[in-house]
């Protein structure tokens, strides 16, 4: 086999033994470089991943929504039809009930008529929707889903559009709605950045809050430097 069992020498480590083509290839490789990613890009991609995951959840529920609506409509239609048919059926039963004694006068009355007269009106008079109208309103217990896109938008507003005012508004909205959200740490760090860009004294308040909530957080140096400057 070409590879053999011994280590392969890198082009860069080849000395005089390299052919002219290998030397040219080595030159090309040396002019190339490894990949690096800035911290800002890392953060941006991370938040975009979280936002995409959140979006997928929402999309899944959005797909379910028409099915739920259709189910409710079908159920309501079915209930209405059943009530109407039941009503007609009972009406017909009531209409036929008095005729029977006339057609069969010799029949003993108690045996046939008594159950028909007593049972027939009962289901007709019960309104199908009566329990619904008296049901007390149930409190909304499910928490609102977190929307990380506000933080992504804020990051774009701050870094790309250089609009710290808009970024600050978006971040304030996110932090108010989700003070312990998945991106709360990033949102606080960005709030410090936005506040500093706006020369807003709130930046130091955000910095103090950051250090309190995330004493070993990734952006603690940023927070500390803001407080030291004041």
């Amino acid at each position: 086999m070409t590879g053999g069992g011994k280590d392969v020498e890198r082009l860069i480590e080849m000395g005089e033994g390299a052919t002219p083509e290998q030397a040219r290839l080595r030159d090309l490789v040396q002019s190339s470089s490894g990949v690096e990613i800035s911290d800002g890009a890392k953060q941006q991609i991370y938040m975009a991943v979280l936002a995409r995951r959140e979006g997928r959840h929402r999309k899944r529920f959005a797909l379910l929504r028409p099915a739920v609506v259709l189910g409710v409509v079908l159920f309501a239609a079915g209930a209405t039809a059943a009530a109407a048919l039941g009503h007609r059926w009972m009406e017909a039963g009531r209409r036929t009930a008095p005729a029977s004694p006339e057609l069969a006068p010799a029949e003993p009355r108690a045996r046939v008529e008594t159950p028909r007269v007593e049972i027939a009106p009962a289901p007709v008079e019960i309104p199908a929707t009566a329990p619904e109208t008296h049901r007390p309103p149930t409190p909304r217990t499910r928490p609102r889903s977190e929307d990380p896109s506000a933080v992504v938008d804020a990051l774009e507003a701050l870094r790309k559009q250089h609009d710290p005012d808009r970024a600050a508004k978006l971040l304030a909205g996110y932090l108010t709605a989700h003070p312990k959200g998945a991106l709360a740490e990033e949102a606080l760090a960005l709030s410090i950045e936005a506040g500093t860009a706006r020369h807003d004294p709130a930046a130091s308040a955000f910095a103090r809050r950051y250090l309190r909530d995330y004493p070993t957080g990734r952006f603690r140096q940023t927070a500390q430097s803001v407080l030291e400057r004041q």
């Binding site: 590879g3 040396q30 190339s32 470089s33 990949v35 690096e36 990613i37 890009a41 991609i45």
Partner: protein, 190 residues
């Protein structure tokens, strides 16, 4: 572009890669992301993912990682990430190819951004990058990946074997075959 190429050579030291991998809690997405995002970016480049779309590809890879992390058995995290990356890059290249077929405006290969101290040097470097990219685009993905990871990204053959799940000798053979094919192309271009 957010992902950049650093100009230094030799490139990043790979010492401690395994040790750091062992330290990461595989259930913690953030920890996995922080530890592996740069490596994944390197793999994407080695596999021929276009430089301009590298951030998008990183997103695609980590969306899948986020979704599947709870099912991951914890064995060979780099190998698992590498397989996801390979699938995403392959799918991306397919989509790009379809776009290219329909629009005939999207290039399948592109030159990498070239840092350089002077404009002339920058142009020279850019030309070299474009030339190398052209050469790499004409060899198969396994050969290209092994060559780039070994020669440019500074991986050892053992590390490449581990992430690719391939025998060590196969990786060594791929590196040497890639080198041979690239040298032959250089010779033919003269």
């Amino acid at each position: 572009m957010a992902v950049s190429e650093h100009p230094a050579w030799p490139v990043s030291s790979v010492a401690g890669r395994d040790r750091a991998a062992a330290d990461v809690d595989v259930r913690d997405f953030k920890a996995v992301y922080d530890r592996w995002v740069l490596e994944v970016a390197r793999w994407i480049r080695a596999m021929g993912g276009p430089a301009a779309d590298r951030d998008d590809l990183l997103q695609e890879v980590f969306v899948v990682v986020h979704r599947r992390l709870s099912d991951f058995d914890g064995e060979n995290l780099p190998g698992w990430l590498y397989r996801i990356t390979a699938h995403q890059v392959r799918d991306f290249r397919r989509k790009l190819w379809v776009k290219h077929i329909f629009s005939r405006s999207v290039p399948l290969t592109e030159s990498m951004p070239a840092p350089g101290p002077t404009p002339i040097m920058s142009v020279e470097t850019r030309e070299k990058h474009a030339f190398l990219d052209g050469l790499l685009s004409r060899i198969s993905v396994p050969l290209r990946t092994a060559f780039v990871l070994f020669e440019i990204e500074g991986y050892t053959a053992e590390e490449i074997a581990q992430i690719q799940g391939a025998p060590l000798n196969t990786v060594r053979a791929r590196i040497l075959r890639a080198r041979k094919k690239l040298s032959a192309q250089i010779e033919a271009s003269r």
